[in-house]
Assembly symmetry: C2
Homo-oligomer: 110 residues x 2
Amino acid sequence: MKRSSQTFDYSQETIDLAKFAKALSHPARIIILKHLSNQSCCFTGDLLEVLPLAQSTISQHLKELKEAGLIEGEVNPPKVKYCIHQENWKKAQKEFQTLFKEDFRKIKCC
Amino acid sequence: MKRSSQTFDYSQETIDLAKFAKALSHPARIIILKHLSNQSCCFTGDLLEVLPLAQSTISQHLKELKEAGLIEGEVNPPKVKYCIHQENWKKAQKEFQTLFKEDFRKIKCC
DNA sequence: TTTATTAATCGTATATTTGCGATGAACAAT
DNA sequence: ATTGTTCATCGCAAATATACGATTAATAAA
């Protein structure tokens, strides 16, 4: 598969936004983020009661959220405490805001 | 592949948000949406100058955005005019806002 | 030292996404 | 009727995502 779009020069903002959106693109990960938003913090195990998924699957979702920068984990064996990565969370919030606020209604159409 | 999470009872809001996020999860689609936001409307062909992708690929991305409800196309053969689906666009905006506004900072952590 | 607890990672299977060229459909212009 | 324009769809290949069980790693408790 040729991947021309991956070498194309998308702006960093566009890449970041797509990355954040991808992290939010699965219901389980939204549940996790909502849970963290409400609870402030939680352990991986707590999520086993919230989601109908295997431990390994939840761990994978957490990894993706971590790689997207939306959460961070504090290792405290044998537990790991996760919470929202506040700085990046605000960054994501701002980038989504920017996308949606563009006033396309300047010129009426359709 | 077992897909337990797909039969699980996620809330409609969660499903909708994940769907919108998935639509936004590719840089090309973000470019398209930004273009539509600024231009109000455009034809498929216009995007060929904006994106380094084949016509068929762009058409596919447009289809996904349409299926996610974020854009709509007015067929006017041989051209098709695309624009933001304002109602759903606002709905998406609101749902992202809701996600991010949850004040997880109530309890300080990490 | 052995056992229990917690969570990450590995290996594997399947589904979905992304991309392209080729083709087809709809209409305008000739 | 033929040709040109525009765009969607089909068929394929490759990459990525999703899910699970099994295993491993790190530590506490016994």
